[in-house]
């Protein structure tokens, strides 16, 4: 069987994604997805796990310094066999480096030293060199950068997250356009699934926060009513005692 058709059964067994921002839940549960991904060959499964270890936030440790993070990421990416997966991992980390640079600069941090490894990828020297420029002179390479900077400066965290999710989604769609039933198509599917899972979870978190707010307001209102009722009962009792 040709490698282009290697994962025909796996991919046709996966339900289609809708639009990212219109989704209310993932097309299939994480458990089911992991069960289907057991059909992957060992080397491909390892590559997918390594990609996940590099880009998933759950697997990141925040107590270590930037240089160690970059070194670990480079090691993990070097261990990936598939060129497509390796390139995707690099692209995701370069994007995160850009967003991290925007955040650092917004918080008033000076330009990082060129001797320190604070970011990942080929654009780090360019970012350091053009720290004072609004988009590090990279707006032609990354058209989403000006909007990301505006959203970050205005404190619109949700808008920024939406922009970044949309950018990754579009990139996945673009690089997956030529892949139908091969491993690369599986990688793209899992990447899209992950975005939908994270986005819908954000919505759940927002709903939960909104529910908590409503609960606080309701309980506060109910508390006032109870207090008023208590005072009224006390007044009645006092009048009865006086009589």
């Amino acid at each position: 069987m040709q490698s282009a058709d290697r994962y025909l059964t796996l991919l046709t067994s996966l339900p289609a994604h809708g639009s990212l921002f219109g989704a209310t839940q993932t097309p299939l549960s994480r458990l089911r997805l992991e069960m289907r991904l057991r059909w992957l060959e060992a080397e491909d499964a390892e590559d997918l796990a390594r990609l996940s270890a590099v880009v998933d936030w759950y697997d990141q440790r925040f107590g270590i310094d930037d240089e160690t993070v970059v070194r670990q990421a480079e090691q993990r990416i070097a261990e990936i066999h598939n060129d497509f997966v390796r390139e995707l991992a690099r692209w995701r980390l370069e994007m995160r480096t850009l967003v991290a640079a925007l955040r650092l600069r917004r918080d008033g941090a000076p330009a990082p030293s060129s001797r320190r490894r604070w970011g990942f990828g080929r654009w780090v020297p360019q970012i350091t060199r053009h720290w004072g420029e609004p988009q590090f002179r990279l707006e032609r390479v990354f058209p989403w950068l000006p909007q990301a900077r505006r959203l970050l400066d205005s404190g619109d965290a949700l808008g920024l997250e939406r922009l970044l999710f949309g950018t990754v989604w579009t990139h996945l769609e673009r690089i997956g356009a030529e892949h139908y039933f091969d491993f690369e198509a599986v990688v793209v599917y899992v990447g899209c699934w992950d975005l939908v899972a994270r986005w819908t979870r954000y919505e759940a978190d927002a709903a939960l926060a909104r529910f908590d707010d409503l609960l606080d307001v309701t309980l506060a209102g109910a508390g006032d009513i109870l207090v008023d009722a208590g005072f009224a009962a006390l007044d009645d009792a006092t009048e009865e005692v006086a009589a």
């Binding site: 025909l8 059964t9 991919l11 046709t12 039933f181």
Partner: protein
């Protein structure tokens, strides 16, 4: 030399069937895998997926008919015609089967997401089928002109 020419004649006579069968085998395997995957994901329309997955099997049927049409005494005079028609028709049937299998796999994937496009999604596979029918019909026409 004559023996080689005769051998090529036999190869052409059987080639149409053999190559057509190879195309059908690969095409049905590709579309069949897609059908199995779709069955895992959906609860309805399972018969449709199976039906679509056997579309590439027509290549072997055309191959059989071409082989019987070409069947005659293989001589130095008839062998080149048998070889040319049989081999080229077989190659066309092989590619037709394989690529029809892929279009069927895509059709299965598409109709799983949108069952209402069942008919439309089969149009590319039907067009591929149309080209193999051309190959089949004109192989039969030309087979009548092979000198004895």
């Amino acid at each position: 030399m004559n023996e080689l020419v005769v051998a090529l004649g036999w190869a052409g006579m059987y080639g149409a069937l053999a190559l057509g069968a190879i195309g059908s085998i690969i095409g049905c395997a590709i579309a069949g895998q897609a059908a199995i995957g779709a069955m895992v994901d959906t609860e309805t329309g399972l018969g449709r997926y199976l039906g679509v997955s056997v579309m590439p099997s027509t290549g072997v049927i055309y191959g059989i008919v071409i082989m019987f049409t070409l069947q005659r005494e293989v001589t130095v005079t008839s062998a080149p015609g048998l070889f040319g028609i049989g081999l080229l028709a077989g190659i066309a049937l092989l590619y037709g089967g394989v690529l029809q299998g892929r279009t069927c796999a895509s059709a299965i994937q598409a109709m799983k997401v949108k069952p209402e496009i069942f008919g439309l999604s089969l149009a590319p596979a039907a067009i591929v089928e149309g080209f193999t029918v051309f190959v089949f019909v004109f192989a039969l026409v030309l087979a009548g002109n092979i000198p004895a």
